[in-house]
Amino acid sequence: MMQSPSPTSSTVADSDSDKPVAPAHAAPVETTPATGDEHSFDAPLSIHDMTVAYHRKPVLWDVDLDLPEGRLIAIVGPNGAGKSTLIKAVLDLVPMVSGRVLVYGKPYRRQRALVGYVPQRESVDWDFPVSALDVVTMGSYRKIGWLRPVTRKWRDLAMESLHRVGMADYAHRQISQLSGGQQQRVFLARALVQQARIYFMDEPFAGVDAATEKMIIRTLQDLRNQGQTVVVVHHDLQTVPEYFDHVILLNMRVVAHGPVKSVFTAENLQKTYGGRLTLLDEAAEALRRAGGK
């Protein structure tokens, strides 16, 4: 299993060349369908008629999606549009009222190995007594299995992953001693050790510094170039065309989805954000003026 050469992964390959790190299609053999041809027709993720409700109030209505493979995909929409809920419903973290989710043609529960997840940074307690390395190792727990201890091999793998996101020097820091950007990098490293084929990331750019944002998007592009599919809940409309290939415009329903070029239009954004976008525009304009530039 050779890695495609890329600037960030080459350093890792050098340090330990016979151990593949997040190789393209690292899927364990048992999870590939019996007929090898069939799987190329299965989308990384297909959602049929998904409806999700909290306390009987619908949050997502009739979501139908088929995501293409090997793309960087943004989910955008106003607050309360159900962006995080969509991801959580796919991952079985919130119950669906109705609908069906298939990951590479099979129910998610049978395909956990193929799916990586980066929750929102605020969703965990950063005072928790663990080191950055401990957190990254958690990405391997499924492979380690119940009751088996975390051995050297898994720590080495986590270390390589930290190296890849430029955090090797911080491996033994307790996580509360890291900045917001560094914490997000640790989460990214944890996703990388999962060696998944489709990743879901909930606002990986929230509250990070500019250098980290660049680093994260470069890593995501590397994953994409290796054939993985990356789905990102994203807030900054400005950077959507620059960062992403595909976009899902969401506001309780899927307003539009497809390649950024054809779907990310003023008209569709207007539909997604309703009257709110004009206010956003004004706010952005006010911000620019206040900045003096």
Partner: protein, 426 residues
């Protein structure tokens, strides 16, 4: 007073139950559900009462089973109320356990006519009785409670050691645990079951109050003192055991020396663990109050030192080379001068302080930062030249070599500041 084997058994019993409680307490504290221990250990009362009324005996096993079942029901009810009643989890615990405890009281009252099932015993336990009720195990005679608590502690230890990885991930990030195929919910209920088992096994020895204290205080103190889960668990066990020993000594021996009669050992054990927790808050190495005060003191001393150095440097620029060494300095001044003399940054020259070459080097670096900042603030932040001194005064202490370099690159005239004073070269 003599220390007898009876005292030893009291400490052993206290330590065993305290450690059993503290072990599970780590995960309650980390999951921010410390009060769950409180809730479950109180709510088991109706389970005891019903088991007694049904089986009409005080045999341990049915009572035990009844209490554990009610303990688990408590955990379920709390979850149910907070999820479907949209109530905050703390409030839902409060409602559930007080209601169940009250129900238990009523049931015991009804049963009390027939037999002595004592509510006081539930709240305070009876260490003296437990330490005296011996059974024979092989060649040894040990208190029955020690056997039971030993088994419970062993079960808890096995649970934590075997499921360490699973407990860590499901406490830190339950969602990730679930996506990894570890059923965080199942682990939660196993934990709650063990909390109920531990509470029931402990309360007639050390009482409900101490159970609650030991489930929270040792783990909370250990959390302040450590930054890895493994060391937190170990430290919490040590704190629990030490609290038991200190508590008994404090309750029996110390008061007698002072001319009082002994007091409740279990109560003193709870007080001891509380004191250890307070000590951890005050003296914890990183998060402790005193260590933070110490760091702040160090910082303000450093700033005062640097201010003296740059002051001397400015005077040299103006031709007044010295600061008089006479007069009574304030404590801070005295400390600052003493440290600078020790570092050979300043020296005494006929009754005055003057910079040594070493001190001058430090001072010129500070002045450079200061004047670079003044220039930068005028250039880039459009401040008036006379507004910049205060800000630059603060920033100079926080500017390292790398930042200094970037500052020099960012301004137009890296040789003179807005007032025309020379910026010392590197």
């Amino acid at each position: 007073m003599l220390w007898t084997s009876f005292d030893t058994w009291i400490v052993v019993l206290g330590a065993l139950s305290a450690m059993a409680c503290a072990l599970l307490g780590n995960f309650l504290v980390l999951r921010r559900m410390s009060m769950m221990g409180d809730a479950i250990s109180h709510a088991v009362l109706p389970g005891l009462a019903v088991a007694f009324l049904v089986t009409d005996s005080r045999a341990s096993l049915p009572m035990f089973v009844g209490a554990v079942i009610v303990g688990i029901i408590t955990a379920l009810l709390v979850q149910f109320l907070s999820r479907f009643g949209k109530v905050d989890e703390g409030a839902s615990m409060g409602v559930v356990f007080t209601t169940l405890f009250a129900l238990g009281l009523i049931l015991i009252r009804r049963a009390a006519d027939q037999v002595d099932l004592d509510v006081n015993c539930v709240l305070y336990g009876d260490l003296n009785y437990a330490a005296a009720a011996m059974v024979r195990i092989g060649p040894f005679r040990v208190p029955e409670a020690a056997v039971i608590l030993g088994i419970v502690l062993t079960i808890n230890l096995l649970f934590v050691v075997l499921f360490f990885k699973e407990l860590r991930i499901s406490s830190f990030d339950p969602e990730l645990a679930t996506t990894q195929g570890f059923n965080a919910g199942a682990l939660h209920y196993v934990l709650m079951t063990l909390v109920a088992v531990t509470a029931v096994a402990s309360f007639d020895v050390i009482g409900n109050i101490l159970v609650v204290a030991m489930m929270v205080a040792p783990a909370a103190a250990a959390h302040l003192l450590t930054d890895r889960l493994g060391s937190m668990v170990v430290v919490s066990l040590i704190i629990a055991a030490i609290s038991a020993a200190i508590g008994h000594v404090g309750a029996t021996i110390v008061p007698q020396y002072l001319g009082f009669s002994g007091t409740s050992s279990a109560g003193a054990m709870a007080a001891a663990t509380g004191l250890i927790f307070i000590a951890a808050v005050l003296f914890g190495p990183r998060r402790g109050v005193t260590s933070r005060m110490w760091h702040r003191l160090q910082l303000s001393l450093r700033i005062a030192q640097e201010d003296l150095l740059s002051g001397l440097y400015r005077q040299e620029e103006r031709g007044v080379a010295k600061v008089p060494a006479s007069g009574a300095p304030s404590l801070t001044q005295w400390l600052v001068r003493r440290r600078l003399l020790q570092q050979e940054a300043i020296e005494r020259v006929d009754g005055h302080f003057a910079l040594t070459p070493r001190g001058r080097k430090v001072a010129s670096r500070l002045l450079r930062s200061h004047r670079l900042w003044e220039t930068y603030l005028v250039d880039q932040a459009a401040l008036r030249a006379d507004q910049t001194h205060k800000t630059a005064e603060q920033l100079e202490h926080l500017t390292d070599a790398a930042l200094q370099q970037r500052l020099a690159l960012d301004i137009a005239t890296p040789t003179h500041d807005p007032q025309g004073k020379m910026i010392p070269p590197e």
